[in-house]
Amino acid sequence: MQKSLHIDPGKCTGCLQCEMACSYDNTGTFNPSRSYIKVFTFHDEGRFAPYTCTQCDEAWCMHACPVDAISVDLATGAKIISDDKCVGCKVCTIACPFGTVNYSQATGKVVKCDLCGGDPECAKACPTGAITYIDADWTGYDRMMASAAKSLPSAEATH
């Protein structure tokens, strides 16, 4: 059973532990601005929403890449960047309609969530259970992803 990140914004307190854990795991520094998961703040409502790549089935980023630098990790289903192949053209960053693959000035390549190879640091660091890593089927997450994708008309409809 493939797992996925399940995010429950209602439980998020905005503590940014996920951003710290992610940036530390991926860059060796505690630098939230370099985290692949990002907590968005809704000041007026006093709410927070952690957001990262949903490893969507459409994989817009992967299909747009001109040099085959993005592939599917068969173990986790994550879409992962090969630093060796990525030329830093940024086309994937405009192709992903969720804004979750981003250019890193520091590396000259793009970065995105790779599910940490199957043991995501953000989920482990989250003290409130707002981010969990659980069986995809139990979460309704697939349905959410499907509906997000459906809202993009260029996702073709097969008759």
Binding site: P66, D68, I94, S154, E156
Partner: protein, 417 residues
Amino acid sequence: MQHIIIGAGPAGVIAAETLRKCDPAASVTIIGDEPEPPYSRMAIPYYLSDNIDEAGSYLRDPSTHYSKYSIELVQERVEKVDSKAKQVTLSDSSTRNYDKLLLATGSRAISPPIPGLDLPQVHSCWTLVDARHIIELAKPGANVVLIGAGFIGCIILEALVKRKIKLTVVETGNRMVPRMLNDKAGGLLKQWCIDKGIDVHTSCSVESVKAADNGEVQVSLSDGSKLPAALVITATGVKPNIEMLEGTDIKLDLGVLVNHSMQTSNSDVYAAGDVAQGIDFSTGNFEVQAIQPTAADHGRIAALNMAGNITEHHGTLNMNILDTLGLVSCSFGLWMGVDGGEQAELYNPGEFQYINLQFDGDCLVGASTIGKTQHIGVLRGLIESRINLGHWKERLLKDPTCIMEAYIASTQELGYS
């Protein structure tokens, strides 16, 4: 079932892979006329800047990929398509029959009628062959004149500067990338380039290129300047490769006209990529977009239809991203706005920052940014999902930076609206 694909660029290769997936028993052949394994033109700037070698531009690993998926690669030029006999004639005079044909022939660079553009110091920058010529002539310290500051001109600009040459850019429009950025944004980009030591001439044209005594050339501009150059690069537009269709019943306009299934006026012939005039998401009109993501989408959708999986194409969003010596600019959809629409703008010239959002009613229909690299893809999401932004539109009008927040709040269940 014999599928033939003409053109081994991204549209052709992605179509071949899709055909293989949907129709495992079919024969799939790609006929391409370039001497290299299938590669991506988009990688050329990174080859020019020595970031990658030629193999880094290959679309797939040529030693294994095509044989693994039983995709036959033929390196020949298709001279003629006979859509009645369902046959193509190659440059070696051999013929091949098809059941379904895909035109994925892309376009080629064209030069304006300026005297001297046939000199050996003048090259376009469209193919790996061109790139090799440029690398040979763009020696450190050399004077290089780039004609055209459109998207292609600008995308190779950084690579040229990295070769440590002295660069002059000449653009007939009044700003840089006039078809991607408005006056303010294009002006910012021009100022950025000037600050980086590039000599930029806008509203200016090249009148002639003449051979000089030292083996170089002299470039004369309409503003009276005369520039010495070891290399002149033309980035002045392209034209679709459609000559082999002469005499067929396939309807042409700016490119090959296709319907919602990527099918041409001949039901056994499809077209995809730069050569195809397909649906534009924003306008609903048939347009040639000439960008990589569109070539990929076209290739996939055309192949699904060729294999009998009827799939409707709802249009591709025109979008571009450009990195000019560290300044990233991008544009999406109707970035120039619509009649009666509203716009949100953040203009911070001192910091080289710009965000422009264009609304039609409560929907985002276009955007352009400068100096922003994080979460820009969500602009595509906001435009293509035609989300009714409701009160988030008012927020965006006040603060156009909160695009991610607007998207999340409009699409996710946050427990509030």
